[in-house]
Amino acid sequence: MNRSKRWWWQVIIVIGLLTVMGILINNLAVNLIRTGLGLSFDWLWRPAGFALSEHPLPYQSSDSTAWALLMGWLNSLRVIFAGIVLATLLGVSTGAARRSLNPLLRQIAALYVGFIRQIPLLLQLLFWYFVAFLGLPSEPFAPLGAVIHLSNQGISLLGVTLSVEFAAVLLGLSVFTGASIAEVVRGGLDSVPRGQWEAFRSLGMTEGLGLRRIVLPQALPAILPALSSQYLNLAKNSTLAIAVGYADLYAVSDTTITQTGRAIEGFLLLLLSFLLLNLLINGGMQLLNRAVLRSQHHH
């Protein structure tokens, strides 16, 4: 295509897009005037009027809606970061197990990955909540001595008390994402030449040591980009927490929208929050990526 033709195409596309957007926004304006709603964010500073089952900072229903949304934010962050840690541990050990010398371990890991990835996450979350955690006895019992106390009222781990909802979301997200991370790790391990494995084995290194010191560091550049997209998936999937009644960002936004009727404004805030969360995770992963690359150049 020559330059002027290209220029004209772009002008036509812009005009077409602007027209469509104009029509949509005009419709929105007509609808908002018709329903008498208009567009405003005053409601953020009015009392929320609903209780939250869980809030990391002091909160009561007479506090402002903005404060309630912040609690939702913090609840989301809590479960996302705990989930990232747990899913990474699970995923890396499963991915490594799929390349271990022990055939039993390999089989179990393959079974776990194959099974979990074929079942919808929402169904798994419902299972963890309604069957695994609400199915616990109401009297606390301690299967591992003082380390952990379990009951259907909550889980107490080393003195830290977690709600059943939090535990269900955390475990559901971690087990689901762990299976995907395991695939990422396996792919990364496979990208390391076989000679490296043979080399450390012939040096008499144990499997664990060789994996940690020889293979994983070389696999890391291949693993990290895919890993960060799994972390983003985990963050986005954490919104399914609403199905088990965990007061995360989406659940609180949903309640706010039902209470105030401010669907457009509430939705915009939700979108902004998620763009921010994406930037946060992407930024963190980029720092990690750069650190890894730098440390490898030093060697």
């Binding site: 919808p120 169904l123 199905a243």
Partner: protein, 342 residues
């Protein structure tokens, strides 16, 4: 024989050298046996399967009128038949083999056929979309949004890699934005906010709104997979096509895209399976698809506390559907390879 014996001997020696690993393996094995045993005895003796067996029509059709249930049944049977025909490929009997070139068209026609069958037309009694449900709705949501998302995604991918700077930027913004937000937010938009952007007199039903939201969301992911395919085609292909005198759009249609799609098939399969699993999110937003109908059954006092039975049953159904889709994709992949080599 001797080799085998030697290998086994070595194997035993390895176990003797690693007593901890051997003990660990025995422990794991006994745990697995215990898990299999207790699961098996629960499945046979402990579980009360009435919540499943008494409600099979609900799981299949939702609250579709009982005397009209043959319509979703016909559609699902056709879907199954088409799947089997596609899967059996070369093993088809001779007369059926001649129909093979029409298979893609049959697949494309499945969605409109399903909508007409379910909604009703001139001779069929009209059934409102709120009565659609169960497996029928799950399959309809998946196929309809999948077939919509595919061309949209291809368009976005071509747009993003095009040399029109503005178009590339717009496509990129759309793709990145969609991939940054959670699906449930997009579905929420489709159910509650989409009507606000439409003129008052236009009303779209909830199923169609869900399909649109799913398609808009999935298109962004399809676009990235197709882009991966597009970028893996060497430049020389485009140059060769240009040397043959093909213009840009013919080059894309005849040379680049077919090769790119073949490379993208495995990734697209994962998207399709993900889409099927994600239709379960509509249970949160009030559609009675497979998971939604199960949630309303569990709310029935008659089936109180039967969560595990229902979830195990649903997991089985979803597992079967996803495995079927994976098989289909393998078949398509192989056909793609065959047509390249011939």
């Amino acid at each position: 024989m001797a080799n085998q014996f030697k290998a086994r001997q070595q194997h035993y020696r390895r176990w003797q050298q690693k007593p901890i690993e051997a003990a660990f393996s025995v422990l794991i094995l006994s745990l697995i046996l215990w898990a299999v045993w207790s699961t098996g005895s629960w499945l046979i003796a402990g579980a009360d399967w009435r919540v499943v067996t008494h409600n099979l029509p609900l799981y299949a059709f939702g609250s579709y009128p009982a005397d009209q249930r043959w319509r979703p049944l016909v559609w699902m049977a056709a879907l199954l038949l088409l799947t089997i025909t596609t899967l059996s490929g070369d093993h088809l009997p001779q007369p059926l083999k001649r129909l093979q070139p029409f298979l893609p068209w049959a697949w494309i026609l499945m969605v409109p056929a399903g909508v007409v069958l379910l909604a009703g037309s001139a001779n069929l009694q009209a059934v409102p979309s709120r009565a659609w449900g169960g497996l029928t709705l799950t399959l309809l949501l998946t196929t309809a949004s999948g077939f919509l998302a595919l061309p949209m995604g291809i368009g976005l991918a071509i747009g993003r890699t095009s040399n029109l700077g503005l178009v590339a930027m717009l496509c990129r913004i759309y793709i990145d934005l969609m991939r940054a937000v959670p699906l449930i937010a997009v579905l929420f938009f489709g159910q509650l906010l989409l009507p606000l952007f439409l003129p008052v007199e236009i009303e779209i039903n909830r199923v169609l709104r869900a399909v649109m939201a799913f398609a808009l969301f999935a298109a962004a992911y399809v676009a990235e997979d197709v882009r991966g395919g597009l970028q893996s085609i060497p430049r020389t292909q485009a140059e060769a096509a240009a040397a043959l005198g093909l213009n840009a759009s013919l080059t894309m249609r005849l040379v680049i895209l077919p090769q790119a799609m073949r490379i993208a098939v495995p990734a697209l399969t994962n998207q399709a399976i993900g889409l099927l699993q994600n239709t379960s999110l509509m249970a949160i937003l009030g559609l009675i698809e497979l998971l939604g109908i199960s949630r309303s059954l569990l709310a029935n006092p008659e089936y109180i506390g039967r969560h595990l039975e229902v979830y195990v049953w649903l997991a089985g159904v979803y597992w079967l559907l996803c495995s079927g889709m994976a098989l289909l994709a393998k078949r398509i992949e192989r056909q793609g390879r065959l047509s390249t080599s011939s």
